[in-house]
Amino acid sequence: MSHMLVVPVVLPALVATFIVTAARFDLVLQRVFSLASTAALLAVALGLWLLAGDGVPRSYRLGDWPAPFGIVLVLDRLSALMLLLTSVLAMLVALYAAASFWDRRGRHFHALFQFQLMGLNGAFLTGDIFNLFVFFEVLLIASYGLVLHGAGARRITEGLKYVAVNLAGSTLFLLAVGLLYAVTGTLNMADLALRVPTVPEADQALLRLSAVLLLVVFAIKGALVPLHFWLPGTYAAASPPVAALFAIMTKVGAYAILRVYILVFGDAAGAAARIALPFVLPAAALTLVVGMTGVLASRSLTALAVWALVGSVGMLLLPLGLLTEAGTAAGLYYLVHSTLTGAALFLLADLVARRRGAAGDGLVAAPGFVEADLLGGLFFLAAIAAVGLPPLSGFIGKLLILQVLAAHPARTVLWATILVTSLAALVGFVRAGSTVFWKREPAAAEPSHGPGDRAALCAAAALVAAPMLLAAFAGPTIATMEATARQLFTPSVYIEAVLGPARLADEGTIQ
């Protein structure tokens, strides 16, 4: 029995608890434990990813109860990918937070950080729809704590709105899960996949109601327009390492859409099949427009990062919204790219702000600052990735998405949306970069030394390296995404891993 599947949840939970209990007043100890835990998580995630590489999903029956009666964790390619992505991001962000001393601007940073990881990992691993709710809550409440890290009026007022909106979202989640249970009698997602097609005709309206309500919930988490209003203020107010970590948060919504609308309401779901299809794509296009308009409108590097993140959600949900194998592969590639690039932008904005004194990260001229060229170079690369210019992963992702959308009847509109918003992003980034890194205000004396955060700079640089690696190894990376998508579109392997072959056979054929 391999307990490795549950480690990504239990390890951060216990480490965080330990930090709160025993290391509450010792920042050094907190850092040691937090970083060690994050590194261990990275190793475990890598191990799990390799494990999942054989294409056979694995399930872990918590409490040793047979599925679908207890809760199961399921490791398939998709969950392993999300775990790995989270761990990589977390490792670099944790390093950054410690090296930039952001972690000492408030209480409990490392504990909350670990809890956040627990929530994320739990959400990616779970095979139970209600447990998904629980872990959504874990990751949300940890994120509330993290958003408020460092306090200050802005964080508090924005945090308040963030909490309120997500509470409303959680309420909706419960409604939807309740309805789903009422018509199917189960919570296990594999079991749902088997039962949804057999829901009687008379209950279809309720089933579909639950399906669309769930979609609204996931769209709120994913910040799809017009359910995105909570995001810009919150992310802009959050401390930079937190915002960087939050680059993965919107992807949780995307992940949930993939999981539920392919496994449960996928092609085989009978009358409720592919119910998400009419909604995701238009919302994604709208999100892309709003996000990139925001990029154009930005008045600071952080705002730029925020809006680029919003836009990237739209971009990645365009192909995902097709609910096809090819679309999923393209979307997943873009998901990985946009998460790491988005995080890099937040950290770079912070590194700049720390050096520019009063000007901060505002798009205004300021006296020269230390390591301006280095940061400018990093920003240039990150911007190339974010805008989607070659040769970095943003371009490759965009091409993949354009190709995938080629078969769509509304191709012209979608392509035009992507290309025009790319132009808006280009303009936004060009203006921002040339103002911040090139435009100089004369100063009495240029600062001679920086804030002493070389290690933080390295962490940010490592994030900037991500789009390069993703581009350089685009072939194998996309192949992995394709394998992931293929597995996702073969629900039978998932169902078999959870419920066993016998049950699958009983329920008849499922593609």
């Binding site: 629980v134 409440i141 007022t157 308040l160 309120a164 959680s170 309420t171």
Partner: protein
């Protein structure tokens, strides 16, 4: 009885939704409390309504109501308790920090004195 339950939940939802659309933090908190009442009842009722059939095993019992929604609601109550507590404190904290509890966009001038 089912009609009472359904309409009651409907009214609680209505009040909750109306309150969260008010422009101050306190009504929003109250509204979310109402929504939480509504959704807890809703989720609970997914196991249908039954009188005198608590899911506590008893040799003399004639049947049990569905225990699972109850367990889910219990979890939901606890979670929303934590969330509400945080929201309440945030509302307080925001007021202390800024001197106002208006959350409906940029602060307007009229009648806004704390």
């Amino acid at each position: 009885m089912e009609l009472l339950m359904a309409s009651g939940v409907g009214v609680l939802t209505m009040v909750g939704v109306y309150l969260i659309l008010r422009a101050r933090t306190f009504p929003v908190v109250l509204g979310l409390t109402f929504l939480s009442y509504a959704v807890n009842l809703f989720l609970f009722a997914m196991g249908r309504l039954a009188v005198g059939r608590p899911p506590i095993l008893d040799p003399e019992a004639t049947g049990y109501t569905d225990p699972l929604p109850q367990a889910l609601v219990l979890t939901a109550i606890v979670i929303s308790f934590g969330m509400t507590a945080l929201l309440v404190v945030l509302a307080l904290r925001g007021y202390l920090e800024t001197g106002q509890d208006h959350v409906d966009g940029r602060v307007r001038s009229e009648g806004d004195a704390p």
